[in-house]
């Protein structure tokens, strides 16, 4: 099993390759010096990135097995579940914001996130619901009333 550096170097090598190819499509001024062309600098960077990625690839192959010193992240089904729920709520938020307005979307976001993050033993609705309401109200007060941020107006508040 190749270690993380190996995969990291592959990813950046691909990024370098894609960038070089893409920058090569930019217009080139005939007869002018290369530095004037919009593709000059991105191509230069992609070359440097490519060289560095190859260097990382080589060192990762020379020093393999430091791989499994992971920070204990996503090691259990619960962790993966919570992570996925959080990501889902984050992606959902902008859509809710536009549809429902700031207060409602923030309440939904906060409520569900608190609910999922709270340990089973402490998962009491009579604590979670008011806390979510209180936090949402605080956010509303700070951002809408005091800072007057112009949020999209949705069908609710």
């Amino acid at each position: 099993m190749k270690n993380k550096d190996f995969w990291g170097s592959i990813v950046f090598l691909v990024v370098a390759g894609v960038l070089y190819t893409y920058s090569s499509t930019y217009p080139v001024k005939e007869g002018g010096i290369a530095v004037l062309n919009p593709g000059f600098y991105p191509k230069l960077l992609s070359l440097i990135l490519g060289v560095l990625s190859v260097a990382l690839l080589v060192t990762s192959l020379k020093n393999p097995a430091k791989s499994n010193e992971g920070a204990g992240v996503l090691k259990s089904r619960k962790a993966v579940f919570l992570f996925s729920v959080t990501l889902f709520l984050l992606i959902l938020y902008p859509f809710l914001l536009e549809l429902l307005g700031f207060a409602s979307s923030s309440f939904i976001f906060i409520f569900f996130l608190i609910f999922f993050l709270t340990e089973e033993a402490k998962k009491k609705m009579f604590i979670i619901f008011p806390m979510a309401l209180a936090l949402s109200f605080l956010m509303f007060f700070i951002f809408k009333v005091i800072l007057k941020i112009p949020f999209p107006s949705g069908i609710l508040i």
Binding site: L52, A71, F109, I110, L113, F143
Partner: protein, 492 residues
């Protein structure tokens, strides 16, 4: 250089709002810095969008308050629960937590507060003297010199970031690549905008910074199931005795110098400063054999150093536009959002604003001293806030903050993408600091690089024929190659 320079900013302080803002900034900074999982960099990043509507002088008073408060605040949880609230407090827990275990947490916090204040004051003095001098020098810099300095910043951060130097350099170059999104500064040709009008001015660095420092941290906490509550102890006496303070003077002075110097090196900041200061304490302290067991020198040294690095880091940021550490990189965002470009021109054209920065920093150190000593007991309760409530609140701050910059949901999208990739990069053991620095310095680097080459008609030797530029390039090589050579020498 006349004294009028420094007094020019005083006129802003006839407005009581300045004091209120600075005080509030320090308070919020301490709270956020103390809470484990919320870093100082993240605190500043999250609040920048909200300063946009304020006057630049007031906004910076707030941000500097956050900066000072948060760097100090990290020591509170480092001492009480052995979890540094910010990376610059890592060394503080080495003696701070043992002191806490011995029932001397209050004393540790008191020492930490006073040392941070001494470090902070010292660095403001150095900043206010050195910055105008360096800005004067920098006026003589031309494009080649800026290329050299930018490379120094990128190589320093590559060396000091977690993970190998190669990964740091990859991060830096990737950041430079992200900086190419938008219109080419010379030909105005749109690069990598994928048809989106929002990208014409380039990727906004603020949502990206909030994403990688804020969102990614929270995602990591969630993914590692680190959201249980912690318990702390009651605090007894907080104010240290005069005898203790006298004993600490050499330590605090030495660490303040170290902190200011390291802060002034582009890209090296509080965490390095505090570790080096602690290391030096191990060499020079009269009680060095007791370090690690819970002695006041072990708290005073890193805390004086990390707050000293705040003023130091502002030197290259303000005079050259090169951030002295990740936090000043974010602070730069706060300047740019107000339409102010850091660099020698700022000193020429906006001297009252510059001097107001010196005064605001001084004020925030003063407020930090007062709030730290008076509020220690309150803060010790505060860090027990349950994570299952804190994390959602912080996430909403991140989301709203990103939206508020341009009232754009696109920026919220950028935030989420940056947060996700920031999380992934952490897992691949890539540090994000080089990427952020590369992004921020990218436009400066590109325009100066291309300008130099245009003037020299494509001749690359222009970078080595100019003496100052050559000097900077030699420094870059030394920074990158030096540690490798030292390693080889040591092995022999």
């Amino acid at each position: 250089m006349s004294f009028d320079l420094y007094l020019a900013g005083l006129k802003y302080f006839s407005n009581p709002l300045m004091f209120l803002t600075s005080f509030f900034g320090v308070l919020v900074g301490i709270v956020f810095g103390a809470l484990p999982g919320l870093t100082a960099t993240m605190t500043i990043a999250v609040f920048i969008p909200f300063t946009f509507s304020l006057d630049p002088v007031v906004s910076f008073a707030f941000l500097l308050g956050l900066y000072t408060g948060a760097v100090y605040g990290g020591s509170i949880s480092a001492i009480l629960i052995n979890i540094p609230g910010t990376p610059s407090a890592i060394a503080t827990s080495l003696d701070g937590y043992p002191m806490c275990q011995q029932g001397r947490a209050g004393e540790a916090i008191g020492i930490s507060t006073i040392s941070s204040a001494i470090g902070g004051f010292f660095s403001v003095l150095v900043l206010s003297v050195a910055a105008p001098l360096i800005a004067g020098l920098a006026l003589k810099f031309s494009a080649e010199e800026y290329v050299g300095i930018t490379l120094i910043g990128l190589s320093v951060i590559a060396i000091i970031s977690a993970g190998s130097t190669i990964k740091g350099l990859i991060g830096g170059v990737f950041g430079l690549i992200l900086g190419t999104v938008g219109l080419d500064p010379i030909t105005s040709f749109p690069r990598m905008i994928f048809g989106r009008a929002e990208l014409i001015d380039g990727l906004d660095s603020i949502p990206i910074m909030i994403g990688v420092y804020g969102l990614a941290e929270m995602l990591t906490e969630i993914a590692s199931l680190k959201h249980k509550t912690v318990v702390t102890q009651e605090l007894n006496k907080v104010l240290p005795s005069l005898k203790d303070v006298k004993r600490l003077i050499p330590t605090m002075l030495r660490s303040s110098v170290i902190g200011t110097l390291i802060g002034a090196i582009p890209a090296a900041g509080g965490s390095i400063a505090s570790l080096v200061a602690y290391g030096q304490e191990k060499k020079f302290s009269k009680r060095k054999e007791l370090l690690g067991t819970g002695i006041i020198e072990g708290v005073a040294a890193p805390e004086a150093a990390n707050n000293a690095s705040t003023g130091g880091a502002l030197i290259p940021m303000m005079t050259l536009g090169i951030p002295g550490d990740p936090m000043t990189a974010v602070l730069m965002g706060g300047l740019i959002i107000q339409g102010l470009r850091p660099g020698p021109i700022l000193f020429q054209q906006q001297m009252p604003f510059v001097s107001s920065i010196f005064i605001s920093l001084l004020l925030s150190v003063f407020f930090m001293l007062i709030i730290g000593l008076a509020g220690a007991r309150v803060f010790s309760r505060l860090i027990m806030v349950k994570k299952n409530f804190l994390i959602p609140a912080v996430l909403v701050f991140c989301l709203v903050g990103s939206y508020a910059i341009n009232n754009s949901l696109f920026d919220v999208g950028v935030l989420i993408v940056a947060g996700f990739f920031g999380f992934l990069l952490k897992q691949l053991k890539f540090s994000v600091a080089p990427i952020i620095l590369g992004m921020i310095l990218g436009p400066l680097f590109e325009s100066n690089l291309r300008r130099s080459l245009m003037l020299s008609q494509g001749d690359w030797s222009t970078f080595v024929t100019r003496p100052i530029s050559l000097f900077f390039l030699i420094v870059v090589v030394l920074v990158l190659v030096g540690p490798l050579v030292l390693d080889r020498v040591r092995k022999k």
